[in-house]
Amino acid sequence: MRHLLSISDLTKVEALSILNTAETLSRVSDGPMKKLPTLRGRTIVNLFAEDSTRTRISFEAAAKRLSADVINFSAKGSSVSKGESLKDTAQTLQAMGADAVIIRHSASGAAQTLADNQWMSGSVINAGDGTHEHPSQALLDAFTIRKHLAHGNDDLTGLRVAIVGDILHSRVARSNVLLLTMLGAHVTLVAPPTLLPVGVESWPVTISYNFDDVIESVDAVMMLRIQLERMSEMFFPNAREYSRYFGLNKDRLVKMKQSAIVMHPGPMNRGLEITADSADSARSVILEQVTNGVSVRMAILYLLLAGSQELEIAQ
């Protein structure tokens, strides 16, 4: 593994090795060793051309716990806002000696472009590209589900996960569908037809337009944010109607299985896709997802950066 661009690039063995490494690392950072010298002297650039709170901070915390140097670079306040191209930005970062670039971009495929064009020699990690993929989020979601529900199994065989809401604009949903089904879970997408992408019938999932049909049978519910910033048209009549049909509220919460968990990749629109009491309920693992995110991202950085990539091919 040299880059992490998409879940579809990963084999099941690689995905599990990330989850297992994250598990060991989470025990290390829970314990007495808060800071590890593993990536000392490595430079990691956070290239965020789109707003982000948790992903950027999470990657930064992960890199710092492994003693890497982190340079934060956001589009606002940089030359990107003056119209500098991705190529020139990448070459600048290369000239500064970046060992890895974590990129978030509003264009789908931005991370792939950066990795394919040899503008820089470091690793590229996709932290969300347009409506395409967000692999580290899917890995931390799978990690969280496994921790709660897999009962010591390595993968997610037999578990049922509902992903609810704005599938159309969601890179989190795309990465999660690929990863969760690869790990053996059964995924049901729940959304109004207007918020499902074209070609969704070819995905390895079940589709439902009725949240109440699904809620009682699933082990985990993943609520997606309604992405108002990506919506240029009307996808549903109004917010109240959306909440009533596709939001997670107290009535639906009590129908869930005893052991079932509630997830949300954040940021939440409280009162729209999820009510405040659902988000703060005992079933909610939303804050735990954030904690697990740091361990999973430490694992990604460790596996991409700590070893020698050339030797992997040679041996």
Binding site: T24, L25, Y302
Partner: protein, 177 residues
Amino acid sequence: MSLALPAPDMARAITRISHEILERNSGSNSITLLGIPTRGAHLASRIASSMREIDGKEIQCGTLDITLHRDDLRLRPPRALMPTNIPALGVEGRDVILVDDVLFSGRTIRAALDALGEIGRPRSVQLAVLVDRGHRQLPIRADYVGKNLPTSISQVIKVHMTELDGVDEVTLEDGDA
């Protein structure tokens, strides 16, 4: 390939090391054994059970994974991480005995000392190894040695343990060079 340490000799070496540890530390009260995965961890639990038989007391025994503290990570493909389990009494003020299978360059032990320093401040740190094969690259020596085995740098030492390999033995093979 030659057999450097057959099973009975290996068992005797482990028993002798257990006696030596108890002798040097006047009993087992202050001792914490930390095995370095993979084989050092199994070796540590064998030494612990041997010490328990001799001394009749429970022994503090755990594992210490040093992968994240290695200085040669960039020379090899990424390594899988192994669990670290520090026993209940911790390492603070204890006599910590690091246990590994083969002592070679000394770099693993240097990394282990770094990792240990992150966890706490032991009263003393001692080192027990099953085989010392020489070729040190750092000023490190073992306090308890199962067998000193002079080797050439190209030879390969393999420690087999029943827990992992179905058999107890140490073999010496001629390398490719």
